[in-house]
C-alpha cells in the first residue's frame, strides 16, 4: 500500500508513509472445513502501530501464527523487510526481527523471571552474564525488576502479561506482535501497559496488535484492520473505522467489545 508521495495522494490524516516492514499478501489458511483466514492483505510500516480487530473467531490469532512461522499458509505470502518468510521456522522468523506474545500466556513456569527473559536475550547475546544484564534491564523497564528472581509461575496476571512483553522485547524485534496483551486487566493495569507499549513504539519498534479492549485500540493504533470470518472488511485510521457500518454490523451480536467508542 505504498503510494507515491504527492500532495494530492497523501491522505490528510496520515504523515508520510513509512517504509514497509511487514507485507501480508493474499494470505489464506483453511482447517478442515473452516476457512480461518481468507485472502488477507495488509502492511505494517516501520515504527507504525497497527491494530487487528474483529469478533472472536475472525482469524486474528491465526494470522499471527501465519506471520510468525507457526503455521504455513495455504496460499499467499508474508514478507518482512523484503524477505519472504515462507517455510521459515518460528525461531528463524524471530531472528529476523519479528517477536510475538501469546494470547494464552506461556511463561516458563519452573524458571525464574529473569531466566525467562534471558531465553530471549541469549539469542543476540550468547554469553549468559551479558544476557542476564540485558534481561534485568528489560525487566526494569517493565517494572518487574523486583520480581526478577521469583519463579515465573508465581506471578499475578498483570505481571505475567508484562513478562510476556518483556520476553518478546528481549529478542530485540523490529516488529512486535501483541496478542490480546490487555485482556483481563483492570483500568490501572491497562493504562500501565498502554504506556509501556507507547514507550516501546517510541523507540522505533513497530507494533501489530490484536485487541478487544477498544479504548486501547483507539488510543494506540494509527491504523486499524478489521477482520471478520477471516476476511478483511475494513481498514483505515481509527475514526474512519469506528464509523464504518460494516464494522458495526460485524460486532453486533458479539458481547466481547469492551468500551466501544461512542
Amino acid at each position: 500500500m505504498t503510494e507515491p508521495d504527492t500532495a494530492s495522494n497523501r491522505p490528510p490524516t496520515l504523515q508520510a508513509v513509512p517504509p514497509l516492514l511487514l507485507e501480508v499478501q493474499s494470505l489464506s489458511k483453511r482447517f478442515g472445513g473452516l476457512q480461518a483466514v481468507k485472502d488477507l492483505s495488509f502492511t505494517v510500516g516501520e515504527g507504525e502501530i497497527v491494530a487487528l480487530i474483529g469478533p472472536n473467531g475472525a482469524g486474528k490469532t491465526t494470522a499471527f501464527a501465519l506471520i510468525s512461522g507457526f503455521l504455513a499458509p495455504d496460499t499467499g505470502r508474508v514478507t518482512f523487510r523484503g524477505r519472504d518468510l515462507a517455510g521459515l521456522k518460528p525461531h528463524r522468523v524471530n531472528a529476523l526481527g519479528v517477536a510475538r506474545t501469546f494470547q494464552i500466556m506461556r511463561p516458563f513456569p519452573r524458571l525464574t523471571v529473569v531466566r525467562n527473559v534471558m531465553i530471549a536475550t541469549l539469542g543476540h547475546h550468547p554469553a549468559p552474564a551479558e544476557a542476564e544484564r540485558r534481561a534485568r534491564a528489560v525487566l526494569a523497564e517493565l517494572s518487574l525488576a523486583d520480581k526478577a528472581d521469583a519463579l515465573a509461575g508465581s506471578l499475578t496476571l498483570a505481571e505475567r502479561k508484562r513478562l510476556e512483553l518483556a520476553r518478546a522485547l528481549g529478542t530485540e524485534p523490529a516488529l512486535l506482535l501483541l496478542d490480546e496483551v490487555m485482556s483481563g486487566l483492570n483500568e490501572a493495569e491497562t493504562e500501565r501497559i498502554l504506556e509501556l507499549v507507547r514507550a516501546i513504539n517510541r523507540r522505533g519498534v513497530a507494533i501489530l496488535l490484536i485487541e478487544h479492549v477498544m479504548r486501547a485500540v483507539m488510543s494506540l493504533a494509527q491504523r486499524i484492520v478489521v477482520l471478520n470470518h477471516g476476511e478483511r472488511i475494513a481498514e483505515g485510521p481509527p475514526e474512519a473505522v469506528a464509523g464504518d457500518p460494516k464494522v458495526i454490523e460485524a460486532y453486533l451480536g458479539n458481547e466481547d467489545v469492551a468500551g466501544a467508542p461512542a
Binding site: K89, H91, A95, A99, F102, F108, R110, I119, G123, P128
Partner: protein, 314 residues
C-alpha cells in the same frame, strides 16, 4: 563455598578405597557406575526434559562394539570405548532426528525410545555373529591394556573418573547458554521457538552428548562384568535403572543423579540379598515403582532439591 564442599567430597571419594572392604568396594563401584549413567541421562532427560526410556540401547551398543573389537580385531577397549560411544551417539542422533524432526514429544517420544531399544535387543538376540541370545563372554586376562584389572580398586577409580566426567559436562552445560535453553525447552518448546531458540538443534545436541556418554558406560559394563547379554544390556530393566536414579535424586540438577545412585544402589543390593533368597525376583523393582510414584506425588523435583530447601531453612 560450594567449590570447597565439592573438593572435599571428591577427596573423600578418592580416599575411600583405602578403608572399604572388598564387598563394600563393589557396592561403591556400582554406585558410581550407575551415577555416571544417571548423569549422562540427566543431560537429556533431566535438563532437556526429553524422557528416554531406552537408554540401555546406548549401553548395549557401546559395550558390544568394544567387546567385538577386542575379540575379533584385538583393539584395545580403551580405544574401543570411544568407538562404541561414537556408534552410540550415531544411534542417538538417528533416534533424535526421527523423534524431533517428526515432532514427537512427551509420551510419544518415550514410546519411540522404548521401541528402538527393543528393536536393538531383538536384533542382537537373533544375530549369531554377535553371540545371539546367549550373548558375549569376555575372557578374563587381568590385562590393563584390555581394560581389565586384577585390583578392584582400579575399577573404582575408573568409575569415579567417569562420574566426574559426566558431572563436569553437566556442570559446564548448566552454566552456558546451551543448558539454559534446555531448561526452557523442557517447560515449553513452542514459547522457545517464538523467542528465537532453535529447539531442534539443542535437543539433538543434548541427545548426542547423552548417548555418547552412556555409550562409554557400555564398555565399562562389558569389562567389569565380563558378559553381555542382549536381554540385560539392551533391556528395559536397565533403562529403568538408569532413569530411576536421576528422577528420585532430582532430575535436572547436578547432584540429583549422584544422590539418587547413593540412595538406590545400596537399596537395590539389599533387596536383592533379602528377597532374592526367598525367590522373589524383581522385588527391588517394586520398590522402584513405589518410590517413583511417591516422588512424583510428593517430591516432584526429587530428593536433592528437597534436601537443599530443608538445609537452607535450618
Amino acid at each position: 563455598m560450594r567449590t570447597a564442599a565439592a573438593l572435599v567430597a571428591v577427596a573423600v571419594l578418592l580416599a575411600l578405597p583405602a578403608v572399604l572392604n572388598a564387598y563394600a568396594l563393589t557396592i561403591f563401584i556400582l554406585i558410581l557406575f550407575y551415577a555416571f549413567l544417571a548423569q549422562a541421562w540427566n543431560i537429556l532427560g533431566g535438563y532437556a526434559g526429553q524422557l528416554s526410556v531406552g537408554h540401555a540401547a546406548f549401553v548395549g551398543v557401546g559395550g558390544y562394539t568394544s567387546a567385538m573389537l577386542a575379540a575379533h580385531w584385538a583393539v584395545t577397549p580403551w580405544l574401543g570405548m570411544l568407538v562404541g560411544a561414537g556408534l552410540a551417539a550415531v544411534l542417538g542422533a538417528i533416534i533424535g532426528y526421527l523423534g524431533f524432526r517428526f515432532g514427537l514429544r512427551g509420551f510419544y517420544f518415550v514410546l519411540l525410545t522404548v521401541a528402538f531399544a527393543e528393536v536393538c535387543r531383538i536384533l542382537v538376540s537373533n544375530i549369531d555373529a554377535l553371540g545371539g541370545a546367549l550373548g558375549l563372554y569376555i575372557t578374563f586376562t587381568g590385562d590393563p591394556r584390555q581394560f581389565q584389572f586384577q585390583d578392584q580398586r582400579v575399577y573404582y577409580y575408573v568409575a569415579l573418573a567417569l562420574t566426574l566426567l559426566a558431572t563436569g559436562m553437566a556442570a559446564l552445560i548448566e552454566r552456558r547458554r546451551f543448558g539454559i535453553y534446555l531448561t526452557a525447552i523442557r517447560d515449553d518448546e513452542g514459547a522457545c521457538e517464538a523467542l528465537g531458540v532453535d529447539t531442534f538443534r539443542y535437543k539433538m545436541l543434548a541427545m548426542v552428548v547423552s548417548s555418547f556418554l552412556t555409550g562409554l558406560g557400555g564398555t565399562f559394563y562389558a569389562f567389569y562384568l565380563f558378559s553381555l547379554q542382549p536381554n540385560t544390556v539392551f533391556g528395559i530393566p536397565l533403562s529403568v535403572e538408569i532413569i530411576i536414579r536421576p528422577i528420585i535424586g532430582g532430575a535436572g540438577t547436578l547432584l540429583g543423579p549422584i544422590l539418587g545412585s547413593f540412595i538406590l544402589t545400596p537399596l537395590a543390593e539389599l533387596s536383592r540379598q533379602y528377597f532374592g533368597q526367598s525367590g522373589l525376583h524383581g522385588a527391588h523393582l517394586i520398590v522402584y515403582g513405589l518410590l517413583l510414584v511417591s516422588v512424583v506425588l510428593f517430591l516432584p523435583h526429587g530428593a536433592y532439591p528437597y534436601l537443599r530447601r530443608l538445609f537452607k531453612r535450618a
